[in-house]
Amino acid sequence: MTIDWAHFTPFSALAGGAMIGAAAALLILGAGRILGAAGILGGALDGRDGEAAWRWSLVAGLAAAPSLAYGLWGAAAPVFTASWPVLVASGLLVGFGARLGSGCTSGHGVCGLARLSPRSFAATGIFMATAFVTVFVARHVLA
């Protein structure tokens, strides 16, 4: 294994991570809800349990953050390398799988692990392992 020192950013990663943790803390203590992006977005789209308003507000905050990040430190626009057909396939799988598995990286990987949920440890273990294998196959076997 070789470490990519040129792209490794431990301090901004830790600081950004701490902000994500603070957001999760604020939502659970303030409103009593879990900060899981898949559940929030899926629940907002579903809109049947009377909780759509706060969920859409949170999604709006997420979408507004880049303007603030650009103003504060000139955050650059993301670079996508995937083709449009791959983006469509990837989006369908991510949306379907995250709802079926009751969570994504934020719901299981951050909140679930932070509250020591065995269910989230299982889900996180499975999705990390599968993602490592997927990238290995895509980059080193098929490419």
Partner: protein
């Protein structure tokens, strides 16, 4: 009040994703590519997030109500079952393919990235399809029980 809090939570979450670099698909795949030049940053993002969130969840478990009133809704499901495993598996094939998961996808739409818009539109369809599939599975289960 609840909507204002949720908006602030979304902003802090989104800023954290921007600062940490997690909104960059290449940063995510750089972490997921163990056999290539490996960028361990993502582990620090998750670690930092858990370090701050864990005490809050420990506190939340002992509190009866949220600051804004209402119950604190911690997940009650504990079963490690087939939908959980299968869902995590399907989710992460998609995550590995493009390097985008739900929250960074929405943040990248905020950067007005056309690729992110395609990804998020497909993700929304996947979520709605999963909801229909879930209802059908439940319907089938109830029908079986009735019979």
């Amino acid at each position: 009040m609840r909507n204002a809090l949720a908006l602030a939570v979304g902003l802090i979450f989104g800023l954290g994703l921007c600062l940490s670099g997690m909104y960059e698909p290449t940063k995510v795949t750089g972490f997921l590519d163990l056999a290539g030049a490996w960028d361990p940053s993502l582990a620090f993002v998750i670690g930092g997030a858990i370090a701050v969130a864990a005490p809050a969840f420990a506190l939340a478990r002992r509190r009866r109500a949220a600051w804004l009133g209402g119950e604190i809704d911690l997940p009650k499901t504990t079963a490690i079952d087939a939908p959980l495993a299968l869902g995590a598996l399907i989710f992460s094939v998609g995550w590995g393919l493009a390097g985008v998961c739900p929250a960074p996808g929405v943040v990248d739409v905020g950067f007005l990235s056309p690729s992110a818009m395609i990804f998020v539109a497909a993700m929304a369809i996947g979520m709605l399809v999963s909801r229909v599939a879930d209802l059908r599975l439940r319907g089938a289960r109830i029908a079986t029980q009735d019979a």
